[in-house]
Amino acid sequence: MSDDRRMLAETLRRYLSEQYGWDHRLRVAYQAPFHDPEKWAGMADLGLFHALVGEDRGGMGGSGFDIAVIFEEIGRALCPEPVLGAVMAARLLSATGTPLTALLSGETRYAVAIGELDAPYDLDGIACRADRTGDGWRLTGRKSVVYGGGVADRLLVAARANGQIALFDLAAAEADLHPYAMIDGGPAAEVLLEDTPATPILPAAQAALSDALDWGALALSAEALGAMEATSAALIDYLGTRKQFGQPIGTFQALQHRAVDLTIDIEQARSIVILAASAMGTPVQAKRVAQAKHLVGRVARKLAEEAIQMHGGIAMTWEYPVSHYAKRLVMIDHQLGDSDHHLGRLIETLQTA
């Protein structure tokens, strides 16, 4: 890992633990607008968004490892800020040659609207329609569970135009937005489009969208890693301190072996994320990302369930942080393709090879 990258990760970790503490997190994650604009600006000042983008586009990072270290910190702090949209938007805007200045400064928040209820993870089923009218383009359709949608300034929308999937840019204010919180905290929205004016920025966007989805999936996998490390640290600590039958419950072999298995699983998850990060921009990017999201999805859910079980009742409470980590870990599998979806992609590559 380069020094710059390590420094940014450490700075971000400190910022989140000092400025985005646990009580603050809980309040922000479940109270409209479900994120904190001030802290978002603070994170921009740290150079967070510059780290998402390569030097050729005005940033100072943009490698798979840059994304991974940042999202690991976001996961560790369970930070609900909608940075995912920025990662994906940066890829899409780069593919179109659009200037990134406002994204890099944190001034403009982007949300990427690809998924629909019938086609939550893939591009083939997109039904949202783009029609050419006298002076421009108009979009009609519905984008569901758009992460960060409720707090975005601009939306990048994938829609069907002239028989192919194209990418459009519009001011969020133009759409009929219905914001809400997610069960694991943080903002999302339903985006209703009806003859909504939008600017086409990429007519044949299939490849760029797939690429953006890959980068998003890498970010989420790394976020899960951070949340897993925090959860597992809390679990091991609890096993050592909670006493029943006159001894720490960590002395019961029935729990020890399970905790050990989880630790092995997390090491495996870390390795697959490293492998995926190293593959970004290479011909095996899609396969590595699918492997990462699949494996991380499995491990994350197992860890979430086991951590609650081995804590006993305490981890069933809102008050105890592990319950919120567990929710995030499980719900990451609902974003940008669950473990079955990515397993399906892997099966296809095996069968067509």
């Binding site: 019938d118 089923g125 809400y180 069960i183 029935a254 729990l255 069933m316 409470t317």
Partner: protein, 395 residues
């Protein structure tokens, strides 16, 4: 082996179906099947309807106002109720304290308290667990010190399910501090409006409130409220835990929930194809269905043994482990099936006009998280495995 119910049992099942079709309020069933919160009023209404038919406490002996059902009838009743979307009978009075009073209570206690359970005058809750006494219940510290013809209670109980609705609590308290921990415990009944009691809600993982902490400061309780002998509460606790574990397999819940997931998987489409045609998802469904079908028979085999008067040893623990695992796996499938539509924090707005999840499924993720509890409470699955192992190795 006969895998079907007897003609009498089938007639009973048919009666039950008619009764449920006619008397189970639609609005309550709708909430239950959508996994939404059932209010205190809903539960009281349903208890009263069952009580009017004499079925609230069907397994109680006739002498105490029940029907004297055996294990199979009890099972048929619970299964049909689940399938119809009836709310669970709140167990604390009917399933827990009732049997305890019949076994250990004085005739006065029986005459006074049992009718009040049936007619809904009393809503009981269970004060066993404490912050430091979970799996190791015998280490409980809440003290009851004798002062004339009163006990004075000091300490804290926790995890008190639905305590916010209750007017009374049955507690395990320490009446003797020396000797083996099991030997100084007593079982007492406490009015929740006694001075010195404070109840505070605990919010659970998915955002709901169903459990509480209860604080006791110099709470005076008449000695007449002791059930059984002083310092012999542990025997009662063990007796009661056996009762708590009836219907622990929850087959009815699982059958109902699995049917819902199947219909969900037919409703939801992915790129125009029903989810059920996705091989990976269908494989998950098929696997659980096989497990559940096996569970039905495992459950019935064990019930048949109990009905023939065989002593139940390991069976309740097996049923608890497998039954809760299957229920949780079904909850997992429902959440999974929704994909991103599982993500929203449930709210009125999302239930109604925005309808991201198909009708009745907006709470599936919340209920997946909430149901992590079923492998923890009533003796965690690890504790059940310890019990099984002890039994198996003791030959």
């Amino acid at each position: 082996m006969d895998l079907d119910y007897s003609p009498q049992e089938r007639a009973f099942q048919a009666d039950l179906r008619d009764f449920l079709a006619e008397h189970l309020p639609r609005d309550i069933a709708a909430k239950v099947t959508a996994r939404r919160e059932v209010s205190k009023d809903d539960m009281e209404r349903w208890h009263a309807i069952l009580n009017a038919r004499g079925w609230l406490a069907g397994s109680w002996p006739k002498a105490f106002g029940g029907e004297g059902w055996g294990p199979i009838e009890q099972h048929v009743f619970e299964e049909e109720c689940c399938l119809a979307g009836a709310p669970r009978i709140v167990p604390f009075g009917v399933k827990m304290l009732g049997p305890v009073l019949m076994q250990f209570g004085t005739p006065e206690q029986q005459a006074d308290l049992l009718p009040r359970i049936l007619d809904g005058t009393d809503w009981w809750c269970q004060g066993y667990s404490e912050p430091g006494a979970g799996s190791d219940l015998a280490s409980l510290k809440t003290r009851a010190d004798r002062d004339g013809d009163h006990y004075v209670i000091n300490g804290q109980k926790t995890w008190t399910t639905l305590g916010q609705y209750a007017n009374r609590i049955f507690c395990l308290v320490r009446t003797k501090v020396d000797g083996k921990p099991q030997e100084g415990i007593s079982f007492v009944l406490v009015d929740l409006d006694s001075p010195g009691i404070e109840m505070r809600p605990i919010r659970l993982i998915e955002g709901g409130y169903e459990v509480n902490e209860v604080f006791f400061t110099d709470v005076r309780v008449p000695v007449a409220n002791l059930v059984g002998a002083e310092n012999e509460g542990w025997t009662i606790a063990k007796f009661l835990l056996g009762h708590e574990r009836t219907n622990i397999a929850g087959v009815g819940f699982s059958v109902q929930a699995l049917e819902q997931v199947k219909s969900l998987a037919r409703q939801i489409t992915r790129n125009g194809r029903p989810l059920i045609q996705n091989t990976l998802f269908a494989a998950r469904l098929a696997r659980i269905e096989a497990e559940l079908d096996a569970m039905k028979i495992t459950n019935l085999r064990m019930l048949a043994r109990a009905a023939q008067g065989g002593r139940l040893g390991a069976e309740p623990s097996m049923l608890k482990i497998k039954g809760t695992e299957i229920r949780q796996a079904i909850n997992d499938l429902a959440r999974r099936a929704l994909g991103p539509a599982a993500a929203p924090f449930p709210s009125e707005d999302l239930d109604g006009n925005l309808s991201i999840a198909p009708e009745g499924h907006a709470h599936d993720a919340a209920s997946y998280f909430n149901n992590r509890k079923i492998s923890i409470y009533g003796g965690s699955n690890e504790i059940q495995r310890n019990i099984l192992a002890k039994g198996m190795m003791a030959r």
